[in-house]
Symmetry: C2
Subunit: 128 residues, 2 copies
């Protein structure tokens, strides 16, 4: 079954940074979100608020009236987002095949020994 309701509009790069914060500490106020990213991305509160409201519009985050303020929380799972983005890349760049992606990462030395070990473990585990 395909939960055909969400999947609304695409989440932009900047918006994703906000999502990341919310996925990290679920209910948070705009100010708290800013505390978490404003320094890193050199944003100001207004920017964070705009991004938050756009995410609300896109139904990617929900709000809970906490007294007079609002608390924001993600409405979509991080794994869903990440999975979608990953698949989109694989589709667009590698014709939907994951192996070439892996080869590409390997070639550009983006794979650490740890990665290799982990992937091997995963492979072994899937091998049944």
């Amino acid at each position: 079954m395909s939960k055909r309701k969400d999947a609304g509009e695409r989440i932009s790069e900047a918006e994703h940074a906000i999502m990341e914060v919310l996925w990290d500490s679920s209910p948070a106020s705009a100010a708290e979100v800013c505390d978490a990213v404003c320094a890193k991305r050199d944003w100001s509160i207004p920017t964070v608020k705009t991004l938050l409201s756009r995410l609300v519009q896109k139904e990617a985050v929900g709000t809970t009236p906490q007294g007079r303020k609002f608390l924001y929380h993600p409405l979509i799972e991080r794994s869903d987002y990440v999975g979608g983005e990953s698949r989109r890349l694989v589709d667009r760049l590698f014709g939907g095949r994951a192996a070439p992606l892996f080869a590409q990462l390997a070639e550009s030395e983006a794979l650490t020994d740890d990665d290799l070990a982990e992937i091997e473990a995963l492979l072994r585990e899937m091998r049944k």
Copy 2:
């Protein structure tokens, strides 16, 4: 700033479709490019021309005056582009680690048996 490598202007989604055509058949005229994508993406010649000129501006494709017309050819390697995009995704979504990406793809069933076999082969090969 970091390593301000030239030829760094971002290539957009639509532009990438054009690049893909050029990577496939190196020197091509605008009309030929259109023949290859206009149907698929439902574009018109003007659109292709705009995208081509933007890519020229971005120094992602070069031109060769062929008599009266122009022939376009890519100036950046497909592997470079693909590698860059892949790494960008891995950095943004998985903190630079490839293993989680792999796990993600596995979980979302984006890995075919062929993929697994190929990856295993690659792994074995890198194992020395």
